[in-house]
Symmetry: C3
Subunit: 154 residues, 3 copies
């Protein structure tokens, strides 16, 4: 069952309910979620956000109102990911320090971008397509590149 | 319904019809479309093209005959994407200037690449995997990198 | 049918069997495969690996035990991909030289990375998110960037 244990307002638009994987997340009024999107537990998405196709939003991410997430965007929450612990047992959620990500209101993330755990992106800022965001992003700014750098004020 | 209002020739091969999202697009003879692909309305794809898994092709893209699109490729058509307008109403198709992309014949786009709106890619050229194409690409050339730069003639 | 002709051990966890495309691959005990994953024929995946959502693993890839593959990761096996041969016939598997990729044990590949064909990644190494791996990676090392460069020993 691809939508499970979520708090999704009735006004949220998910056109292809059979082609998403959402569990334990919260999505507020009038937001849209495209196909081939995975959103993990405890993610919070505000009002009037657009989550485009093929994006992955991990636990630890909070997205404020009016944010745009492009296609093929990946958020991460583990700086040194591993499949197993040192004793070769499978890693669980409690076996690593989860890094949070916070998007202030009206942020746009261009398609194909990757956002590293621990980052805060300031309101109104735009991340250009294909960027890798490794540090905090100031508000009202355009960042671009791998790693993403300040380009100019909006 | 994941395939809707399309003009797709009978010789087109879509192995996993339940795992794509195609609407309002045109695909010519003998092309192939992989799983987890989204193709938006008014996209035109020529003959004998290969559209690999996980790729996203937005409105405004025209792909000529014999083109190869790798896996996880994203096309974009909006330079400054936003979820909402300044009055906080949800953005519609008519609320932004759509930038077209044109691939001439026999172009190859490597996996994981991002193609920015407004770009034209010349015939026979190859974009190396993981590139971000921000400008026009000359014909018979290899480009690579973020942003993609001219590497050599073919 | 999205899982076909595979040798998958009973202890392997695939939560969303309707949202993957696996064919002709081998997956060993206790590994996990996320949604929107494609794994091609002849791929071999070891024990206790984690293959995260939206990743694409092509023919020619061998992944040893305890490896972590992030989200939106793409492997490639063709240096100069084309949709057609010079006579404009559709390209088949026998029409190009397949380049293999080998991940030694306990390798981690960060989300959004692209791995080029012909590469070997040494044991315990970590590829940072959003990297493009174009050359061999030494063991016990962190690499990052496009193209991925040596950052430091672990």
């Amino acid at each position: 069952m691809p939508i499970k244990d979520c708090k999704i307002k009735k006004t949220v638009l998910i056109k292809n309910k059979d082609l998403v994987n959402l569990y334990g997340c919260t999505i507020d009024d009038y937001s849209k979620v495209g196909p081939f999107v995975e959103i993990q537990k405890n993610v919070i998405i505000g009002k009037k956000c657009k989550i485009s196709s093929h994006s992955f939003i991990c636990e630890g991410v909070k997205i404020s109102n009016y944010c745009f997430i492009g296609h093929n965007v990946a958020f991460t929450n583990d700086k040194y990911p591993r499949a197993t612990n040192k004793d070769l047992s499978l890693k669980n959620n409690k076996d690593y320090k989860m890094l949070n990500i916070f998007l202030e209101k009206n942020v746009s993330i261009g398609s194909g971008s990757v956002i590293l755990g621990g980052v805060r992106i300031g309101e109104n800022s735009i991340i250009g397509a294909g960027s890798v965001v490794t540090r905090n992003v100031k508000k009202n700014s355009i960042y671009f590149g791998n790693p993403a750098k300040f380009i100019r004020k909006i």
